[in-house]
């Protein structure tokens, strides 16, 4: 036990003290922060220049003297015919001319409007903006000409908001739960996926290095191979927890810092990134964010956080021990051993894709069974936790996961103790299977 502790301590401290660890731990959240700042600037970027667009409207369809300007377009409606306006464009009085045709058939649903320019094509955003303005004016024009009642027309547009309520608790609207649950679930699943890969391969590489630089034989003349392997797995796991914990503190701090210093917040950016922000006014956005926090508050964090840690530990032990076994079988040639990692990485990647499907249907058969299957459950179950899965499923899944983790550690230890002393042999999966049955 004492020796195991010494090994854990060394494995942990040598990594945590490394400059590369400190840099990665601090710089990653900073990099995220910088990424958001840059993205924010990119999306809030406006091409400074404004386009001067003249409108030629012989049919007086717009019925106004002028279309309201936007940030990037200045409209004007000079009393000139199209040919003169085109000349004006060549003389650089305008950047372009919009020629609105005379509309003969009011029931025409498709109308072609020409835009003439000299050399600066309309960018996509301006095109959309122009189209939108024209569509609005045309709608009003048709309402006028067809002599429709605008009020009645407006009444045709109905907005539905679906309130989902449990029969057991009708006071509570759970409609935001799906979105919030998917967000939280996806986040936790993603963290599991990343940590399994990052720290699993860290264990694998370290086992391989010990074997390649031949310290391992010196080590196991003092300690049991099992102690060495466990010490490494636990030590690296500790490194992982440390890193995730530091990130959990730093990332919110930095994002708050970003908001304070640069005056835009992550939510706004998200909505801009998804393109939804253009249609959403500020009040609505604030309401959504508010709803999000309310919903976050209703989640059972006292259950989610400990369960997440259980799945984190179980999943980590399961995969890290398998990675350790593979590392022990690798020789000096990293590329050759890479093939052995495939049987481990495939379930992890598969689980990640299943998770995406599960987030859409968190109570489907796929979700239930993949969150019990131990190679998937460490990623799938955390992603379902926000959807209140039945208790029996959680318990069963944890029991299966813990059992499988113990089995994986045992199995890996048997492969490991043979593998670390085996040199100069090309190892196949079949070979690994044989090692399990070697005697002491």
């Amino acid at each position: 036990m004492n020796k195991l502790w010494l090994i854990i301590k060394r494995e942990y401290l040598t990594r945590v003290k490394k400059r590369s660890f400190i840099l990665a731990t601090i710089l990653t959240p900073l990099a995220f922060g910088i990424f958001f700042i840059v993205v924010g600037f990119i999306f809030s970027y406006e091409s400074g220049e404004t386009k001067r667009i003249a409108i030629n409207d012989p049919g007086n369809i717009l019925n106004v003297s002028k279309i309201p300007n936007t940030k990037t377009i200045t409209y004007s409606k000079p009393d000139k015919n199209l040919e003169d306006l085109k000349k004006d464009v060549l003389e650089k009085k305008y950047d372009g001319v919009i020629a609105i045709p005379v509309i003969s058939n009011l029931y025409d649903k498709k109308i072609e409007v020409d835009y003439f320019y000299e050399k600066d094509q309309l960018d996509i955003e301006s095109q959309a903006s122009v189209q939108k303005s024209l569509e609005r004016f045309l709608r009003n024009y048709k309402i006028r000409e067809l002599q429709l009642d605008k009020k009645q027309l407006d009444a045709l547009d109905t907005e539905i908001s679906l309130r989902t309520k449990s029969v057991l608790n009708e006071a509570k609207d759970t409609s935001k739960r799906a979105a919030v649950g998917a967000g939280i679930g996806g986040f936790m699943g993603f963290i599991m996926y990343m940590t399994v890969f990052i720290y699993g391969t860290m264990v694998m590489r370290s086992v391989m290095e010990e074997k390649v630089n031949r310290i391992v034989e010196v080590m196991i003349s003092s300690v049991k191979p099992f102690q060495l392997m466990m010490g490494k797995i636990i030590g690296v796991g500790g490194v992982g927890l440390t890193q995730v914990a530091i990130w959990a503190i730093l990332i919110p701090l930095i994002s708050i810092g970003v908001q304070l210093f640069f005056g835009f917040d992550a939510e706004q950016m998200n909505s801009e990134m998804s393109g939804a922000g253009t249609n959403m006014d500020e009040d609505e956005l604030k309401y959504m964010i508010n709803q999000f926090w309310i919903e976050m508050g209703t989640l059972n964090w006292f259950m989610i956080v400990p369960l997440f840690i259980i799945y984190f530990i179980g999943g980590y032990f399961l995969y890290a021990s398998l990675f350790a076994a593979v590392g022990s079988a690798m020789g000096d040639d990293l590329g050759e051993g890479q093939a052995l990692t495939i049987p481990i990485t495939i379930p992890v990647i598969l689980a990640f894709y299943i998770m995406i499907a599960v987030l859409k249907a968190p109570n489907s058969n796929l979700a239930v069974w993949s969150s019990i299957f131990p190679l998937f459950s460490p990623i799938i179950m955390p992603s379902r936790l926000a959807f209140d899965p039945p208790v029996w499923q959680i318990l069963l899944s944890i029991a299966v996961l813990i059992g499988t983790s113990i089995f994986a550690v045992w199995l890996s230890a048997r492969i490991y103790r043979v593998g670390i002393l085996m040199y100069g042999k090309k190892v196949t999966l079949k070979e690994l299977g044989k090692w399990m049955f070697y005697k002491g």
Binding site: K3, L6, I7, R10, T14, K18, N213, R214, I215, V216, E217, V218, M219, I220, S221, S222, V223, K224, L421, Y423, K434, Y438, K439, G440
Partner: protein, 307 residues
Amino acid sequence: MNILTLENVRKTYDKHVAVDNVSFNMPKGCVFGMLGPNGAGKTSLIRIITTITRADSGVVLFNGEPLNSNHPSKIGYMPEERGLYKKMKVGDHLLYLARLKGLSKSEANFEIKSWFEKFGIEDWWDKKVEELSKGMQQKIQFISTIVHKPGLLILDEPFSGLDPINTNLIKDEIDELHNNGTSIIFSTHRMEQVEEVCEFIVLINQGKNVLEGSVKDVKNQYKDNLFKLDFDGSFPEELLARTNIISQKENSITVQLQEGEDSNTLLRHLIQHDVHIHSFNEILPTLNEIFIKKVESSNQQNITTPA
């Protein structure tokens, strides 16, 4: 008292028999040579003794008790293929290895410091292992092997990759440890080293021990009754019938005594015949010759009598 007793130790990997019913005794406090060609099973045997692996069958007694988990702390093992954590600081590294051998922090500190003083390398403590030359690393490796004062020291090809200066340094340390009562197993295929330092040997070939005993006994056992004589005068004709002349130069002759003859009789005859003797030496086989002879003959047997 034997520090190590092996009885019918056997170890197989898959279908390959690495150690095949090996038995021998190693007296306490001696320097013991474990000889054998490459791939004979020396390392497999050492791994069993150091509890790295377990024998499939047979008994290994350490100080009279069957091997158990307390014994590794009494054994110092320097493997043939050795290495250190390259990124660790020398001092920390030695502390770590010493503590894994069961030393407390202060004991380990004290021992390592005194070794550093002895080798004059006090300023290495905070250097990283990778900053040291290969020879320096070997020194560190050696210190790590003996820092816990093992009763049994196992050195697998200890001089491979060492320059002559470091070889001598380590040799002197081995001598000193031997004088202080440490039992030492010396595993090698380089015979000249064995003759210099070992008192007892065991010869392993193809997993079996084909020869064991004290170096003196083994040599006597394999001597061919050869004598080399430097003299003035002429070699008496009458003696020619009683000896086989192996080689002859002007004033020097190598003879083999026939069965039943001994060297004193020969000398007496020579003196009677007024031969003026400058030197008279028995030619003992070198371990190298015995080694090659034994290995070849045991390989021969295996070919003629397939298992």
